[in-house]
Structure formats: structure tokens, C-alpha cells
């Protein structure tokens, strides 16, 4: 059974590229348009990996990660940030919130797939 990924980003074009890249690699990808939408979807369905942007309306990436880590089902789920942010300060905040990795945009599909494969197989 294909592994499931929740891709959270307020940019439709970015989500489209993530979905294209990961579905081509055989993953099932569900989209969410912001942190709150991501949290709602995570509560209604179990995902093997969450890939989230940082700067989003309603709920940003760090807030989403903290909210997910507070859920029993998501305490060990790999969560990767996919964001334009590249400062050490933000990475430290991401790590403290519970992120397992940090990917700086733009992403290369092959590298993204390799990282996802490394994290969830």
C-alpha cells in the first residue's frame, strides 16, 4: 500500500509541483491550503509524512507542527518543512517545534523524492 503524504502550502502552484513529484514516485499525496486546513485533514486521516510550508495564513508551519505533535497519532510522524526560509534561527525554531528536517525552496523533484524515501521508505 502506498505511503501517504500531507502537503501543506498556501501556494497552489507549489502544491501542484509537490504533488506531481511525489505521485510520480508512487506516493499518495493529499493537499492542504494552510496550517489550519492541514491540521483538520491530519485529524481526519492518518498520514505517514507531513510536508509543510512555514509562512501561511490562518496557521503557519511552526504552529501546525506544534499542534500535530500534541496529537497522540502524530508524535512520531516525520514532519518536514519545505519553505523559502533558510536562516539558522528559523531552522532552530523548526527543530524545537518538532520538525525532522528542513528543505529550502525551490526543491528539486529527485532530491525531494530521495529525502522522502529516506524518511518513510
Amino acid at each position: 500500500m502506498a505511503k501517504t503524504i500531507l502537503a501543506v502550502d498556501d501556494s497552489g502552484s507549489l502544491r501542484q509541483m509537490v504533488v506531481f513529484s511525489l505521485r510520480a514516485a508512487g506516493y499518495q499525496v493529499t493537499e492542504a491550503v494552510d496550517g489550519q486546513d492541514g491540521l483538520d485533514k491530519a485529524k481526519s486521516q492518518s498520514f505517514d509524512l507531513v510536508l509543510t510550508d512555514q509562512n501561511m495564513p490562518r496557521m503557519d508551519g511552526l504552529a501546525l507542527i506544534r499542534a500535530l505533535r500534541a496529537l497522540p497519532d502524530y508524535q512520531r510522524t516525520p514532519i518536514l518543512m519545505l519553505t523559502t526560509e533558510s536562516s539558522d534561527e528559523m531552522k532552530a525554531k523548526g527543530r524545537a517545534a518538532g520538525a525532522n528536517g528542513w528543505l529550502v525552496k525551490p526543491f528539486d523533484p529527485q532530491r525531494l523524492t530521495e529525502v522522502v524515501r529516506k524518511v518513510i521508505g
Binding site: L14, T83, T84, W102, L103, V104, K105, P106
Partner: protein
């Protein structure tokens, strides 16, 4: 000593003029940015749609070619060349996907510009309002205090605006970004 009535009037008109002209030009800049953003969104929508369609067509074509090659006794060099071309297609597809992410970043930069423009318009608008409150006749010392207060208010609002405008996009090229697993 009472400040020259003409000088006070000039100062009021100067401040009011700065506020009014700035507002007009900033509004034009805002309009242009909105239009730029709309065009970028439309461009990415068209590019993405075309890219997906081309990718689908090429994938289908590759399947047909592979099926044909499998059926006939194609020379090894031809099979090898087809395989190499397939890999080349993959390389270019990856590059296109990376490039097509430009709109996300440019949109963030434009949003930041818009927030700065709105903030700047507020700051300069307040200068205009403050200048209207300056009486036609005022002693020099009081006028100096008043102008100092306007200057300090501008400085405070400008600093606050700067603090709000965190720069999330530092990329200056479209090469793929770093990856770090914690």
C-alpha cells in the same frame, strides 16, 4: 518669538505636499504590483498546465515507443539511445519543476512590498494629518517641538514597519535549496 507666519505656512504646505504626492505615487506602485501579481499568477497557471500536458503526452509517447521496441528486434544502440533520451527528458522535467516554483517566491516578495507600501502610506498620511494640526501662528520654540514630535512619530512607525516585514525570501537564483535532516 513668533515664527514667521509665512514660514509656518510653508512648512505646513511642505509636509502636506509630501504626504499627498507620496500617497499618489505609492497608490500607483501598489496598482502596478497588483497587476504584476495577477500576470504572474496567470503565467504560472498557463505554464503549469502546458507543462503537465506536455509531460503526459511525452510519457504516453515513451510507452508506445518502448512497446514498439519490445516487439521488434531493435539494434542495441537504438535501445540505448532511447534509454538515454528518456533520462534526458527526466533531467529536463526536474529542472522545469524546480523553475516553475518561481511564482511562490515572487508572490511572497510582492506581498512584502505591498505591506511596506501600505505601511509607508500610513506613515506619510500621518505626516499630512499632523501638519494640518499646526496652527497658522506659532512661536518658534513650539513649532520646533511640534516638528520634533512629527519626526519622532515617523521614526517610530517606520521602525515598527521594518520589524513587521521579516524577509522570508533570500533566494537570488532558482537552483534547488539545501536539505537538512535533523
Amino acid at each position: 518669538m513668533t515664527a514667521n507666519k509665512t514660514s509656518t505656512r510653508h512648512i505646513k504646505e511642505l509636509l502636506s505636499g509630501v504626504s499627498e504626492h507620496s500617497n499618489r505615487h505609492l497608490s500607483e506602485v501598489e496598482t502596478d504590483l497588483i497587476q504584476t501579481n495577477i500576470l504572474l499568477q496567470e503565467a504560472i497557471a498557463k505554464l503549469s498546465a502546458s507543462f503537465m500536458a506536455i509531460h503526459e503526452a511525452v510519457s504516453a509517447q515513451q510507452q508506445v515507443v518502448h512497446a514498439l521496441v519490445a516487439q521488434c528486434d531493435a539494434p542495441a544502440e537504438l535501445v540505448s539511445a532511447l534509454h538515454a533520451q528518456g533520462e534526458q527528458v527526466g533531467v529536463h522535467v526536474n529542472a522545469a519543476v524546480t523553475g516553475l516554483q518561481f511564482q511562490d517566491m515572487t508572490n511572497q516578495l510582492i506581498s512584502r512590498m505591498m505591506r511596506r507600501i501600505n505601511g509607508l502610506r500610513d506613515v506619510l498620511g500621518d505626516i499630512g494629518l499632523d501638519s494640518e494640526g499646526i496652527p497658522a501662528e506659532m512661536d518658534e520654540a513650539s513649532l520646533a517641538v511640534r516638528l520634533d514630535r512629527i519626526r519622532e512619530a515617523v521614526h517610530a512607525k517606520s521602525s515598527a514597519l521594518e520589524n513587521e516585514l521579516w524577509k522570508a525570501v533570500c533566494q537570488t537564483h532558482m537552483e534547488s535549496g539545501d536539505i537538512e535532516l535533523f
